[in-house]
Symmetry: D2
Subunit: 135 residues, 4 copies
């Protein structure tokens, strides 16, 4: 999976995701980012449940997110995700949240993840996962 292999996930802002300012709350952006990352997993045949059955838990280790502009009720958004960096122990997804139709940048984030076994012990990125994402 390279920079050109951007995976896009589409969603519409729901009313209950907006706070008393009428803006999507900053924590909800992390839900959107998770939704975008799940689109990458799904495209490669994985789900959290499937990974768990294979003895692997994917865990977010670090998030850096810049909020550029607010999203509001009914806005149609696209989350763009690609694998920015990786080694044997971790990977970094680069993600953007954009607003349709003119693709205004709402937020940009780097999300670092690792794998643990079912007991929570850190393990290298499983080979089946590296194969699927091509690294």
């Amino acid at each position: 999976m390279k920079e050109q292999d951007i995976v896009e996930a589409y969603l519409t802002v729901r009313t209950y995701e907006c706070d008393s300012y009428g803006h999507v709350n900053n924590a909800v952006y992390l839900n959107y980012l998770e939704y975008g990352r799940m689109a990458v997993l799904e495209k490669n045949g994985f789900s959290l449940a499937k990974l768990k059955q294979m003895g692997a838990i994917i865990v977010v280790r670090r998030i850096e997110i810049d909020y550029k502009a607010p999203a509001r009720e009914g806005d149609r958004l696209v989350v763009r995700t690609y694998l920015k960096d990786h080694n044997k122990m971790k990977g970094i997804f680069s993600q953007e949240i954009l607003k349709e139709p003119d693709l205004t940048l709402l937020a940009r984030a780097d999300v670092t993840w690792v794998f643990t076994d079912l007991q929570g012990k850190l393990i290298p990125v499983p080979q089946f996962f590296r194969d699927a994402l091509g690294f």
Copy 2:
């Protein structure tokens, strides 16, 4: 556990629980009710994790909730819960959400729950649970 055995759980409305009207969203009230029911479990020595270890999953089957007045950022609330009815297969918790300091009634609900095993098959209310709650 009888009507006089009301369990009280206290919480303060958090900013991110309010929607664009500045009110606590109606779905969040169900979070508060769950919080109140967990206080009953906890008082009797249970948690969801502990029940699962004992092979039992408690599942909500029906909720009837009347919304009486809105809650807002910073409001201090109390959730009052008692076991209203029960038989071998299910129980009904009666719950109220009240606002401090004058105990204004914000919502009243009846929540019917059942038990399943780990495969999701309906089972009678476990004896250890009936013993704990005294029925």
Copy 3:
């Protein structure tokens, strides 16, 4: 808007909506129901923001929901909503949450709503709203 005028809203269960049982949490079903009701508003040219500009706030007064079967990560759902009953002061939406592709019934609900002005005072259902929904 009559029984045959069912409005359908589609969604896929997101990972963060599932609890430690791997099931969609019961409060999240109310988010799905709200999503379904917003599809009715939207179809008729309304949003919460637009209603607020017109001086009207739509408020949920009562929810009765029966949970029939659990939803899990990745499930594709459809929320079906129609106006079951109404008078000058309130309306009742009947809603179902079904799972694709075989339309298994996951939940059924009746949701009673009223209108208030911007100060929170109960008002009759605005004429523009009754006209839009045809009652």
Copy 4:
């Protein structure tokens, strides 16, 4: 407000905040951080509603968060917040989420915020806010 002026906010992990791994979802940590920042505002006599009445909206611009260890149902947590840096246009809160009773570090974050007026235009940090926080 200096480093020694750490504000502490206490909370207990609620069942519905845990995902299918039984861990608090990473987005929920941002809710906890917001809860911690609101404790700072509250201690200084502010709420989001009060700021809005004064014509000022506080907006998160950037979050860097490192997840160190998972939180689970029933864990008692403390969120520690202090003002790490500031200038005329923005401030940075340094925040930690720790688990009682041994204060295990679960997450550490830097949160950069700015102010806008009610129309969303960037404004300097209001003088009343700087006075309250002592910078």
